[in-house]
Amino acid sequence: MTTEPKIVAFTCNWCSYAGADLAGTSRIQYPANVRIIRLMCSGRVDPTWILKAFELGADGVLVSGCHPQDCHYISGNEKAEERVNSTKRLLRLLGLETDRLRLEWISASEGARFAEVIKDFTEKLSRMGPTPFRSKRGV
């Protein structure tokens, strides 16, 4: 059971968290291995948190915000994109697949898409197998 990949998702309050809500109200089923952390804006995501998640044994980290132009804070999602990209470079240096860190634009109306992303991410991560940090996870 715990061998299935574990995902931490940082979502913005206005689009992506709402999208996850809609997946719920529309009863769209997806794997139970994602843990959502709600922020006001994807631009708040600090690379440190991402690295921390991996270090503690996360198999994947999702950062999700509003579509370009739709950002509730005008341009926070663009900042998120820059940070995710630079963090990906760090992951490569650490010998981690950069695809383990994923950036998605999911709007409040895309419940189905949120579910799709989690499904797809989970499959890809399973194919990649555990990270070298996995052993740290308490199981």
Partner: protein
């Protein structure tokens, strides 16, 4: 009585919501009367908005919730304005609250009752392209999130049997004993924002609406292309749920049409059809989208550029010419559109699998009654008449009663929102004018 200056807003669409929150945010007591069980209005029905291609409900829903949760706004959904007396500064209004037969305080909107309700009825919010139950939530993002029982169709209310919903509701929210109640409120001014309706194009036999399954109206298209719509956002034609190869959009159906009694231009069709055509391309890049127009009216900010993009980046095809007639192939249910391409001056025919008619926008069906209640005049088309189109475009013919958005004539969302805020200013002016007189007197009095 309430010391805050108070205002009645009629109509819970984007304009009504804007006017309400603008006033509430500055400390006014607002009563928002909405005829339907949920606020949101037309905009809640659209898939995307032009020219930004924002998801309509995503940008609207937060406003709906803010409005509903606002401590200074009392949302009277599923209600109708029955009588108005008094004058600017102190109107007395009677509002009829229709029974939902569901206790709003208890209902959590979980929807289990609807799952089990045995009575299936057409869902007019989805333009009857989907069904719903006799106990229903108008749409997924409805505000308030409270179920409503349709008294014409509920088995218990019509035949005295069933009560399934009552049995399985753990919240004990079902209440068949609810009666219509009339609430009385006192306000300084009234803002009308009742929006618009669309004509039934079956009075144009040459286009075959109602006769040909694959001829639909634009509002039906909005639901068809919408992820939360009847097809889950899959672009399929009604006759066989197959993906169309060509989608054609016909503009000015009943607009700019003297015979149909509407000389005026409906204002929004040119742009939303460009948007709809773009949506077609975004959903199915290999589907052709063709738009038949007479004058391309892309005048609002950024919209000419939007049309240029539709043509350049999406390959939307524009044909100048109002089609003469549309005929169906009885086997394939595909449609032949006969038209004159007025720029090449040739009569041609186009094979389309789905035809979307941009029908004329008209005042809401019950505008006449409301006008009578308010004592305001309507124009020749039944839109609310403004005091002076030049410098009093927000005043009706009665002092203290203001109007904004589509109900005073065709307008797009941004013009409607700007006007809605404008009426908030007018209402505030009224309260200033009467501040000395009214509230103090009332305060001393009681």
């Amino acid at each position: 009585m309430d010391e805050k200056p108070s205002v009645l807003v009629i109509g819970g669409g984007v304009a009504g919501i804007q006017a309400s929150t603008d006033l509430a945010n500055r400390g006014f007591q607002v009563y928002l009367a909405e005829k339907l069980p949920s606020i949101g209005g037309r905009m809640a029905q659209f898939d995307k908005t032009y020219p930004t291609l924002d998801c309509s409900i995503c940008i609207l829903a937060p406003k709906m919730i803010d409005c509903f949760r606002h401590p200074n706004i009392k949302v009277l959904a599923y209600s109708e304005v029955k009588s108005v007396s008094g004058s600017a500064g102190n109107f007395t209004i009677e509002i009829l609250r229709k029974p939902r037969f569901v206790d709003a305080a208890r209902c959590t909107g979980c929807g289990q009752c609807a799952e089990k309700c045995p009575k299936k009825i057409p869902n007019e919010w989805e333009l009857n392209m989907a069904g719903k139950k006799a106990i229903y939530m108008p749409f997924p993002q409805a505000v308030p999130r409270v179920m409503t029982i349709d008294p014409e169709n509920c088995l218990y209310l019509t035949k005295g049997i069933c009560r399934v919903c009552e049995k399985l509701c753990q919240a004990k929210a079902i209440d068949f004993s609810q009666k219509p109640e009339t609430v009385q409120i006192k306000v300084g001014s009234i803002i009308v924002a009742t929006g618009f309706d669309m004509i039934d194009p079956s009075k144009f036999p040459e286009y075959g609406y109602g006769k040909y399954k694959n001829v639909i109206v634009s509002l039906e298209f909005e639901r068809l292309i919408c992820a939360s719509g009847p097809t889950g956002g899959h672009l399929v034609r009604p006759s066989d749920h197959q993906k169309p190869k060509t989608v054609a959009f016909v503009l000015c159906v009943g607009s700019r049409d003297v015979k149909a009694g509407r000389v005026y231009c409906s204002n929004v069709c040119c742009l939303y059809s460009a948007k709809d055509a773009i949506l077609v391309k975004e959903h199915e890049p290999d589907v052709d989208a063709v738009i038949f127009y007479t004058d391309l009216r892309a005048y609002s900010k950024g919209s000419r550029e939007f049309i240029d993009r539709a043509i350049r980046d999406y390959g939307i095809k524009y044909i100048r010419g109002r089609p003469g007639e549309i005929r169906e192939d009885h086997e394939t249910k595909s449609l032949t559109i006969w038209y004159e391409n007025t720029l090449s001056r040739k009569v041609e025919k186009l094979q389309a699998d789905l035809v979307v008619l941009s029908v004329a926008c008209v005042p809401r069906g019950d505008t006449k009654e409301l006008a009578k209640v308010l004592g305001v005049e309507l124009d020749e088309y039944g839109f609310f008449k403004v005091a002076d189109p030049l410098y009093a475009p927000l005043d009706t013919t009665v002092r203290g009663v203001f109007a904004c958005g589509f109900c005073t004539g065709p307008k797009d969302i941004s013009d409607s929102v700007a006007q809605a805020s404008g009426t908030a200013a007018k209402a505030a002016e009224v309260s200033m004018m009467y501040a000395r007189a009214v509230p103090r007197a009332v305060k001393k009095g009681g």
